[in-house]
Each structure stands twice: as C-alpha cells, then as structure tokens.
Amino acid sequence: MAITEERPPLELTSGDLPPLEVETLGVFHRPRATHGWASWFTTVDHKKIGIMYGFASFFFLLVGGFEAILIRTQLAVPGNKLLSADLYNQVFTMHGVTMVFLVVMPLAAAFANYLLPLQIGARDVAFPRMNALSLWVWLLGAIFFNTSWFLGGGADGGWFNYAPNSGVVFSPSHGIDFYAVGLLIMGIGSTVSAVNLTVTVLNMRAPGMTLMRMPVFTWMTFIVQVLLVFALPVITVALILLTADRMFGATFFDASAGGDPFLWEHLFWIFGHPEVYIMILPSFGIASEVIPTFSRKPIFGYPFMVGSGIAIGFMGWGVWAHHMFASGMGPISVLAFSLATMFIAVPTGVKILNWMATMYGGRIRFTTAMLFSVGLVAMFTIGGLSGVTHAFAPMDTQQTDTYYIVAHFHYVLFGGALFGLFSGMYFWWPKIFGYFLNEKLGKWHFWLMILGFNLTFGPMHILGLQGMMRRTYTYTEGQGFNGWNLVATIGAYLIAVSILVFMWNVIRSYRQHRANPVNPGPDPWDARSLEWMVPSPTPEHNFDEVPVVEDFDEFWHRKYGHDEQGRPVRIAATEDVVQKGDATDVHLPSPSYWPLVLAAGLPLIGYGLIFNLWWALPGAILLIAGIYGWVLEPSTDPSAGHGHDDDHHHDGDDGDAAALEEPSGDEADTASGDEAGEGAGVASADEPEPAMASASADAEDGGSK
C-alpha cells in the first residue's frame, strides 16, 4: 500500500511541503492517544506492536501448553480413557498448530518488531501502519482459529494435515476448515510483516550500519523474513487448494478423480521445512547476542555466523522431502534429499562451535538469560544430532512417525527455539519494561524447565526407538511403553510448574518495581548493540539522534577500546555514550484505526466461508472500508501536534516510512567518513547537533572528564 501512496521525492526532505487536503472520513476522527489502554488498539509504534505480539503469543503458549498437558496426561498410563480418540486427535493437532503458528513464530516476531529497528538504528519499521496490520491480522486469525473449539471441534488432521484424510469425507467437522482459513488469514499477517521487516533492514539502517555490521540477531531475523516471503506463498497455494477441495468440491488431492495426495505433501513440506528454520533462526540470533554479552567477548567468527545462517536459509529449500522418506517417492529422490539433509548439518554445527568459541576464554556471568542461551546450545546439539540420524533415509524409515521424531523436534523447537526466546525475555525485559525480572526466580525457572524438558523429551528417544508411534491416542500393556511415558508426563508437569514460576516472576518483579522503582538504566548488562544506547524503557522515538555506526558492536566500541593484548579498556563512561531520550522534535507516524478495521474483516469472511456466505458481507465491508480509510488517511496526522515542536517541516508527510528521511545505507557510507557524524544530524533534529559518533571522539570526551 505504501508503494501506491504519493510520496514527495526524497530530496525534498527539508523545507515546507504543502499539507495534503485529505481529511479522515466523515465523523471519524483520527486517534490521537499515545498513552492509555486505547492507544494500544491504534498504535503504529513497533515497540508497542512487539509487546502485543509477545503477550498474545505467551497467552497462546499457555493454551498450547494446556493441550500438551492433556496429551501427556492421556499417555501417562496405558489404556487411559481421559480423552477419547476423537478428542485426542483434535488436541494434538491444535497443540502443534498453536505452538508453531501462534507461539514460536509470533514470539520471534515480537522480538523482531521490538528490536530490529533499534538494532539498526532506525526510528520505526519501514511501514508502521502495515506493521500494525500484521499484528491484528495475525491475532484475529489466531483467535478465529481457536474459536473452532466452540464451533464443532478443532482440526483433527495433524498440523501436517495430509490429504485425503483432511478432506470432508474423512474429516466432516469444521475443524480443518478453521485450520485452512485460519492459516490463510495468519499467512497474510506474516507476509505483510515479512515484507515490512525486509524493507526495513534493506532501507532503514543508520548511517554506517552496513549489512556486515548488523547484529547477528538482526541478520538471523532478516534471513527469516526472506524465507517467509518465499515460503508463505507455497502454503497459501496449498491451503487454497485444500479449501477448494473441502468447500467447493474440487479434487486436487483426490486420487480417484485424477488428483494426487502427494501434491499436498510436497507443497506442505516445501513450506514446512523452511518453516523449521523460520522458527529456529531468531533464537540462534538471540543466543548470538546473549552469549557475547555475558562472556564479555565479541561473537566468534561473525562472518561465519552470518554465512552459516545464510547457508542454512538456502539449503533449507533443498531438503523438504526428508519429511517424506517413507512416503514412497522414488529411490533417486530419497537419495538426493538424504544427502542434502546430511550436509545441512554442517552450517548448523558451525554455529554451535562458534558459540562455544565465543565462551572460550571469556568471563562468563551466568544470568538467567545466559543460562537459557547455554541451555539452547546444549539442547539444540542433542536435537541436531538426532536430526542427523534421520537424515540417513534408511534409518529414517524406522524412526519417522515414532516418538524419536517427537523427541528430535522438541529438542529443536523447545530446547532450541523456546529456550532462546526465554533467554531473550530475560535479556531484553529491562530494556522493554524498565525493570529487571528477578534473577533468583529466573534461575528456578531455568533449572525447573531444563529438568522438566529433559524428563519429558529425553525418554521419548527411547520410546521411539522401541517403536512407539506418534499421534497415537493410547497404547496397551505389552508394548513396552509403560514406564518412560509416565516419566515423560511427570516431566511435562515440571515444565508447567516452571512456566508458573516465570509468570510469578513477572508479576512479582512488576509489583516490586511499582512499589520501589529502580530504573535499570539504558545498559544494564554492559552490552554491545545499539538498543542499549537508549533509555529503558525505550522512548517512543527510539533515538534522540540516529547514531552513526563505525563498527560491528558499535555501542561496545563507544565504551571500550583495547590494549595491546586485545583486552578491553574502558574509554568512556556508559552514561556519557548513552542517549537521554529527551529529544523533543521527532516526527513519528500517527496512530490509525484502519489496520484494525481492515484486519477485523478477515475473520468475518472466514466465518462466512465456513458457515454462511452472507456472514462474509460485513467482513467484506469492513475490509473495503479499511482499505479506503487507510488510503485516504495521511500517515502523519496533518492536524496533530508533533511532539513538542511541530511546525518546522514535514507537515503532511505522507510517507508510510517513518524514517525514510534518514539517509539510507549508501549515503551513510559517505556520511560516516565525516568528522563528528554530520550525517546523523540530517535525520530529524531541526538543528543538528554534533553527534558523538565515533569511538575516538568518545574516547577524548571520556578522557577529558
């Protein structure tokens, strides 16, 4: 949408522009609030959006976790009758879909939204209103998907949902309709978000922030967005075919009518395998921020870390059929995909070794964040090694669809992705909310979780090798599955306890903070990247002035030089190099109703498709109203105040890109050559102050005090 909007040429970044003559529709007034509960519904601030992603996906973590507890309770003993086969099939399907699409992906999106602009020195993402749109579309899609529980039952075909079992003949309830339409809706949100963040990384970097100076988290998130841009269309096609089969009598997957069930398998996994990397790479990025910070060393082999991430991203497209070694595709296909899968272990192994090399020789502080990241390294290693064992196609034909696979991907997605995300929560919590999470409770959380996790999923390796099949609602005496299943169930309850500890930690830390506020300061961990330069919690405009970047780990290099042995030597006090957050004249895009209005139309259309097409009518009206309202609304409210100093320039600036005023990377290279970072002044301050841009300048400042 931003592309079609009229935008003044970039060179006109100074001087008065004529205000646009467009007013918001009729009786509707533009939202103005930037504080209070109402502001959350209309915000376009990437930080608020990130926080909402975080809380919503944590809520769904509780939902998916409850489903997991049901599964484990059912399987604790043989022949359990807690859940019927039908209900069990719904619960494990909903658990999988929830954890993938409603927890891990959006939780990573929470970090991406909040941190990515900060880490590249931007004031917001490229398209702030579209950012709000992706949140609302995803959230309403997620709620829509879960309402299936109350409207005839959840999806019961597994998250992979193979045809023809997913057809109306074999699954007549509406569960799979909710799956198809719900994922289509959420896919819109993810696609919008992926495009937005890709553009943000490519166009919005601060002066001097070349691609190879970006923090590893930003790099991994960037790779994920590119993967999403390419992977989501594939699942979208598959879901549209499925919807056509189920709702309109098409026969794409019906072998007796000339369709082919393999079509779904291939489409699903062409999406589904990159999806695995979409889920794990953000956590790799988080660990790559946390481990250097708490080891007091830069990440070991930055180019290799970035390169292996890119390699994983590329190779991830060539291994999808390793999910199908037993499907009966020909031996040549099996051979090719088997070999490709084996070698994707190489770049992954490089990451593990580089994290270890980062810790080697460091001075490691075991904060909760660091514990979770080290936990990730250890647990992901287990998941990675078991993954290699089923890259060997003959072995996979014994292992696939057994609990060995369940163990494997939980070590990857729980021990890898979720541990990384928890690490990130403890790490960035003070930055985001302005108070620390309690470290003592945090350590209880970690140790309970890693113990419960290993008790739950460790025994599943053994169960799987002893032949316990996946997706089974029960097992019987005499199959040899009794004891370990009970252990796994006990472990699952331990994980639940650890989550309760975490929630208690959040509540208790918040209460203590309310009673006795102690600001953690901009840089509580003595960290390395740009987000730690701004106060905690981050001010709405992020940076008082956009920093000019001269190095990887820019913020660290403003604080520390090094002696001849390469050891860090303080060259500037932290308080002298951080920003105050008191800039008064920063133009920010104005809040808007329209993303929420537009998004609200989609679930209504979904209900219409499933139950009665008439219901889609109000949805379509909302959708079209949303689009028109959006298009007619300038991104910056012409009649609203701009902070404290709103009359100088850019009135009616209608670029969706909040910070496109800033020089892009190309200009930045030139700018960063200038003394004292004049380039940064162009950003938005009306009277550019000399930025403390270079480490050398800081060193002199620090030295003179």
Binding site: S171, F262, L339, T389, P394, D396, Q399, R471, Y473, P568
Partner: protein, 407 residues
Amino acid sequence: MPRNRKATVVALISTAAILLGFWLIIRTIGQPTGKPLNTLAPFGQQAQDIQNLTIPVFAVAGVIFVLVMVAVIWMVVRFRAPDDAVEGEHEPAQTHGNTPLEIGWTIVPAVILAVLAVLNVQTLLRLDDTGENPLEVTVAGQQWWWEYRYDLDGDQTPEIVTATQMVMPAGRDVTVKIQSNDVIHSFWIPSLNGKKDAVPGRTHELVFNSDNPGIYEGQCTEFCGLSHGVMRMQVKVLPPAEYDVWIREMTKAPAQPTSAAASRGEALFVGQCARCHEVNGLTPDSTPPFTYSDEPSPDYGVEVDSSLSSKNAPNLTNFMMRQTFAGNLLALWEGDAATAVVAVPGQVPGATPDKVNIKRWLRNPQDVKPMDAENNQGMPNLNLSEDQIDDLTEYLVTLGPSTRPAA
C-alpha cells in the same frame, strides 16, 4: 590454577555420567523381550541392513555428543566469572575469530558426513533390491485394518484374501505391494524393514526377507484418522513347509457348519454381516442351503450395496486361520494358540477359540476400537441380541480347516 582443575574434574565426572547413561540406555533398548515394535532388534535381512547403518551413525553422533556436552560443561566451570570480578581486571581477550580454525570445523564435519554418506548410499541401494523370484503380496490399508491378497497363479485375481495377519515363508524374498483404499497409511513391521506409506492411487513396494520364523508386530505410522493409534498388523514368518500348509488350507473352502446354533449363525451372517464381510461364496442374496466357494470374489465390498459401512471389510473365509482379529487388538485363540508360529493355530494342542473376545467384539465393536460407522468409517454397532451373538460366534468359529479338532 584451581579453577582449571575444578573444570577438569567436573568434565571428567560428567563424561563418566554421560557414558553410564549411554550404557544404561543401550542395555534398556537392547532387551528384546516385551517390546514387539523395537526398531533395534532386526529379524530380517532389510532390518539388519538398516541396523548395520544405524550403529556406526549412532556411534559417531554419540562421540560428538559427548565431546560437545563435556566441552560446554568444562567451559561453564572454567570461564565462569569470579564473584569478585572487577571491570578492567582480568578482562578476556577480544578474539573476533580464527578463520583457519573455522574453516577447519566446517570441513571436518563435512568429511565425516561424506564418509557416512557412502554407507548411506550403499544401504539405500541394498534396500531397493527386490531380489530374485520374489513372492508378491498385495497389502491394502483402509480405516483401520490391513488386507492381504495373494495372487498365486499370476492371473491378476487373488486366490487368498485375508486380513490382520500377513503370512510369508522364511528364506524367500517377499515384495509387499502397498496400496490404500482411503487415506494415507503406513505399513511398518520394524523387525523386518522400515516403513512405507500406503497412498491412494499408488502402489509402493517394500521388500522383506527373514530367516527367522516368528510373529512380528506392526503398527500403522501415518496418521489416518480416529483409530490410527490402534491400527495394528502382524507378519507371520513360517518355515517353508508350514507356509505350504497355510497356502493349501487357505485355498480350500471352510467346512460347513454342523450344529444348529452355527447354522442359525450362518443365516444371520448372510442377512447382516455379508453386506460388508465376505465368506467366499456367500452374498446377501444367498439362500439356503448355503455353499462356499474356494475363490474370493474380487472387490467384494464394492459390488455389494451397503449404506451401513465402508465398502471394505475383512474377508472372513478361514477366519480361524488367524490368531488375532479386530486389527490385532483381540486374540482369537486362548493361550499359546494365539502366538504359536504354526500354519493352523487350531492344531496347536489344547487350542480353544476365544469366544469371549469374539462376543465382546460383536456386542459393540466401537467399545474395542473407536470407529465412526455413521460416516462410513469402520463397523457399526449392529445391536445384536445375546442369542444372536451366541449363534454368530458358533458360526464364526467353524470358519477354518476341516481338520480342526472338535472344540
């Protein structure tokens, strides 16, 4: 330096602990009894081939696992910041990387994998070899049981159609041709070979060759709906001579019922069960006196109009030649006869049909196995009276070789 020593001690202890754990796990997994689906206890050539690949791969993975875990544990202890750490003292050197080292640990794993890749390719090719003059058995999966068809003379119509228990001779290559009649299933006998999916519209081949007579358990491993978790199967490997006996008995029509109860049961079968189930020669239109045929009619279920259930139900001719029924969930014989590796279970000394199980099934099949008959998935509850159940049971136990000792 004491910290160094502490780290080494902790690392050694954890190495010992991990190795002890490995040993315990290997012992647990290695125990063959009581784990009918164990993937690491091969009783067939193909499963052995897979095992021969599994052991070196697991060994390499195990070594890497120990190295990484112990290194992490060592570093965690060795490089932990002292509690009294002061900024500016004993700061770590700011190493940014070491390109030769990193290239090294990119290449070394690649080389290890390349070596293992050779084994991988060899095993794949071996598993793809269907051998010479294989016996072909067609296996068809449907919700939630397996049908086995034996086309003995190669005329494209099967002489034997049976269910639940596949029978094959020891020492001969057997090619299983796997098909599906509804959704995707997966045929898996872990003791004999890996699994392969049954996909509608396709025929997939899997090779078995076992020198070890025995009954091997299997389990559907592609999610196939409601009762996927209890969709089981068995393969019985018989010595060649016994296998010949099995073929002979299975191609003969069963003995006609003699008792009055069994005859009433036979009439009931024609009236109710034959709408879906076949006993060769009987159809819903049959009239007394009933006579059997020694050949199944092809696609029985499809030709018979039934609005009650799926078009496919197990062929029950020579029902008592099986040792389990209801998708292997219930034993058909009491005691040893249910597990004996013989062609004719009824000839095992003391063999007694398990009528309690049969009646339990007839009383309400959905109590044994979740099914959705209203949606053409599985067997409906026929609401038979207890008398009808008794008669039907008496009839069903007659469906076997005439040489069967009187029960």
